[in-house]
């Protein structure tokens, strides 16, 4: 009887040991970090249903499958995203369970343009950029401009008279317009709108001469014939509009657009950052994801980790430089 008990004790000790050893083994392959073990919070700086939510709804089903955890979106709209990004940089734990959707250029222009906004990209760890929507020049279907040269010639003949719509002060189209002014030496009459929609609608209704906008947003209207596209601000021609020249082809070095990705607070553990980066890379290779993004007219542009950080830093420098040149016209 006693012996039998000893046998069982021995057996159970062996079993426990083997389980522990097995556990150690698997831990080693996962670099001793188990992540994610609980749902991941995503701070959103804009209202549900907006562009940043569209990105969340697009990416999260794929990321959830890869990471095996759910995402919880927390909407904190206000101050063009600054409320959520301040929360991310100043108040969130850097344990990898709080991320935020980061949109350029507002992520940087918010604090470049306003002293009251105190966070900066140095206080976050960029994880991955997901989409970049290239900037475009569009006009209404009845516009007198047939080519981008017609438009530029008209501006040359009437400096400061030709109305150019943008999505709002501090947005990508606003900065693109300033960059074009600087490169070409021309002067436009800039008209800011409350978002990309009202800006292209004003062009379609011939309320303004041209609209500086984004490809993904205006593409359905270009297809439908309500808008015509004159030029695109990308490095190379885009497959969606193969006949449209890039602005670079005209000899002016302006490449611009708005991009959306994910970032974490500064200093999240390297292992966790690695797991997240890999998840985004894996997602980018999934043809279903690429198709879903194309269906929403969102041009996929995956940049992970340091590459994304470098991209943000370069943009920050460019925007700071431009803003310093023009801010006296805007600040009293």
């Amino acid at each position: 009887m006693f012996k039998r008990n000893r046998f069982f004790v021995l057996l159970s000790v062996i079993m426990i040991l083997s389980v522990l050893l097995a556990g150690c083994g698997s831990k080693e392959t996962a670099k001793e970090v188990k992540y994610p073990e609980k749902p991941i919070n995503v701070l959103q700086g804009f209202k549900p249903g907006g562009g940043s939510d569209t990105l969340a709804q697009l990416t999260q089903p794929y990321l959830e499958k890869i990471l095996g955890q759910t995402f919880v979106n927390q909407y904190m709209p206000g101050a063009t995203g600054a409320i959520a990004w301040t929360e991310l940089c100043k108040k969130s734990k850097n344990d990898g369970y709080t991320l935020s959707i980061t949109n350029t250029p507002m992520l940087m222009t918010n604090y470049i343009m306003n002293d009251e906004i105190t966070y900066s990209i140095d206080e976050l760890d960029p994880i991955a950029n997901v989409v970049t929507d290239p900037g475009v020049i569009v006009v209404g279907k009845d516009s007198k401009y047939e080519t981008v040269q017609d438009f530029l010639d008209d501006v040359k003949a009437n400096p400061g008279q030709i109305t150019v719509g943008n999505s709002g002060v501090g947005g990508d189209d606003f900065f693109t317009t300033l960059m074009v002014e600087r490169e070409t030496g021309l002067k436009f009459k800039m008209v800011p709108f409350d978002g990309d929609g009202p800006s292209w609608q004003a062009a379609a209704g011939n309320k303004i001469d041209v609209s500086f906008n984004n490809l993904g947003i205006t593409y359905p209207q270009i297809e439908a014939g309500n808008l015509r596209i004159l030029a695109i601000f990308s490095e190379e021609r885009n497959d969606m509009v193969p006949d449209t020249p890039t602005f670079k082809e005209l000899g002016y070095n302006v490449v611009a657009g708005s991009s959306r990705g994910y970032s974490a607070p500064k200093g999240i553990p390297d292992e966790i950052k690695e797991i997240l980066c890999q998840a985004f890379e894996e997602m980018a290779e999934n043809p279903d994801f690429v198709k879903a993004a194309n269906d929403r007219a969102l041009p996929v542009d995956i940049k992970v980790g340091d590459e994304y950080a470098k991209y943000l830093k370069e943009q920050e420098e460019a925007f700071t430089e431009i803003w310093n040149e023009v801010k006296d016209q805007y600040k009293n």
């Binding site: 569209t54 909407y75 002060v169 409350d194 929609g197 609608q201 379609a204 309320k207 309500n226």
Partner: protein, 504 residues
């Protein structure tokens, strides 16, 4: 071709899955509409991911039904507790609550349901038949035209001022000034934000609305004698309108529905503006002007038919051009894109099956809303039986939840209380709060569109007169103002006496 598509749509919409989606959508809409602070836009955005797994036509039908239901739901709280459930129900408070106070809550519900039904059905029919013709109207409204719309809207303030016109105008002017808080839309300069990033986006008018209407009401309920309340609490009246009442409200609801449809089409204006426009016009054309604000069924039906007519109206440019007519339709448009359907002219041709299913769903949801509304309000009416000591704190809790839910921001809750206290003292000096809300809704539009128009017009104010649409709208605004001056009544008298002389 069109008829064929309409029939295909009908066939899809009467499928079991679609009908269930419509009923669920409408019920959800009634619920979120009735809760102050929970808006249709928010609910559609939250429901959107759930519809991804559904058949596109069913999913989108559910979202549209929710929108329709919420537009009516807002009136429930407006009538019962003087708290508009959605900003689009703000004008419903004006006459809906006085009816409740007179013990006619049932009647108020019946009238508002009936008016909502008419608004919903007429706007669905407009969407089905003349949408392609009306769609282009949306492109006609640029900054110059929007400025004229805002100016016309501001003339409403005058007619909302019960009692002292001076206090009403003052309240409206404060509202306009409050709308200036936040980042200047043209220069990006923060105005009156006192360094707080929470004020950068301005004061959300829904927060102000909840505070101004509901908190003073909660305090008043506590102050008021319980016995007085019990006496007016019996409601034996029939819900459905009588024949005489129908005669009074049918022309009114048709006019208001047209106002609602047009306001819906104009991008940037929605139910929150349409209800005031319709209310104002109802008063202008009414023979019983003095009844407005004291329980006029004309005022109530105008506001309610207009905000439901906005639903179909706002979908017109969304479906024909891909231009959202309101913030709620902007999200519905996002929903279409998720299903791989690019909003725009192809919706009426390539994807006509889905589009016409959606339109039929909208029509059915108006009817579902009427049926569900009859049941829901029968239950909701019991709220009037609850003791004030319980009801008042419940209202305050709803206000806190509602104002927090808008931006998930505790700052907005403090802001709501600040407006609540302001509203309480405004009531004490008989200063109406409605003009302030109208001022806040229109102020931002006025400010942005004025600045944009002047940029477009190279700094010349003539831009407003050269443009035919804005010139006409501004002329109407001018006449509206003159109508209430002694000059106008002098002319009227002159014409009358001339006529008399002619007869003699």
């Amino acid at each position: 071709m069109i008829l064929e598509n309409i029939l295909i749509g009908l066939n899809n919409a009467v499928s079991l899955a679609s009908l269930i989606a419509i009923v669920i959508g409408t019920s959800l809409g009634l619920f979120v509409g009735a809760m102050p602070g929970l808006s249709a836009t928010m609910a559609i955005a939250l429901l959107l991911p759930i519809t991804f797994g559904m058949d596109p036509a069913t999913g989108i039908s559910m979202l549209a039904s929710l929108y329709m239901g919420a537009m009516y739901g807002g009136s429930i709280a407006a009538i019962l507790i003087k708290t508009p459930g959605t900003p689009a129900a703000a004008a419903t408070v004006m006459d809906g609550y006085p009816l409740n106070e007179q013990g006619k809550a049932g009647k108020a519900f019946g009238i508002s349901l009936f008016a909502s039904l008419i608004g919903g059905v007429l706007s669905s029919i407009a969407l089905m038949t003349i949408a392609p013709l009306l769609g282009n109207l949306a492109l006609q409204f640029g900054p110059v035209e929007l400025f004229a719309v805002a100016v016309l809207g501001i003339t409403i303030i005058g007619s909302l001022s019960q009692g002292s016109t001076l206090l009403g105008l003052l309240s409206g002017a404060i509202g306009l000034l409050l709308a200036l808080v936040g980042m200047d839309p043209i220069t990006g300069t923060p105005r009156f934000t006192f360094g707080s990033i929470y004020l950068f986006s301005g004061i959300p008018y829904t927060v102000a609305l909840i505070g101004l209407f509901s908190i003073p009401q909660a305090i008043r309920l506590i102050e008021r004698d319980e016995k007085v309340k019990k006496a007016i609490n019996s409601f034996t009246d029939k819900m459905l309108p009588t024949l005489d009442e129908l005669k009074l409200i049918i022309p009114n609801t048709i006019r208001s529905s047209i106002i609602g449809i047009v306001t819906g089409i104009i991008p940037g204006t929605g139910g929150d503006t349409a209800c005031w426009f319709a209310y104002n016009e109802a008063k202008r054309f009414s023979k019983n002007k003095d009844k407005f604000g004291k329980g006029s069924i004309e005022g109530l039906s105008a506001a309610e038919s207009a905000n439901n007519a906005v639903v179909g109206g706002a979908l017109i440019p969304t479906l024909t051009l891909g231009i959202p007519g309101s913030s709620a339709t902007a999200i519905i448009m996002g929903g279409l894109m998720v299903h791989g359907i690019m909003p725009g002219p192809t919706l009426m041709t390539e994807h006509a099956g889905i589009t016409y299913t959606l339109i039929w769903a909208l029509l059915f949801s108006s009817i579902a809303m009427f049926g569900l509304g009859l049941i829901f309000t029968r239950l909701a009416i019991n709220v009037t039986k609850i003791s004030n000591k319980i009801l008042a704190p419940v209202i305050i809790i709803l206000c806190v939840i509602g104002s927090f839910a808008i931006n998930n921001s505790i700052f907005d809750v403090y802001l709501m209380f600040a407006f609540g206290i302001l509203g309480y003292f405004m009531n004490k000096i008989n200063m109406p709060t409605a003009p302030m809300v109208v001022g806040m809704i229109l102020g931002q539009m006025l400010d942005t569109s004025l600045h944009q128009s002047l940029l477009i017009g190279q700094g010349s104010w003539m831009v407003f007169i050269k443009n035919p649409i804005s010139a006409v709208l501004l002329a109407i605004a001018l006449i509206s103002v003159l109508q209430s001056t002694p000059l106008f009544s002098f002319i009227k008298k002159k014409i009358k006496s001339n006529k008399k002389e002619a007869v003699n």
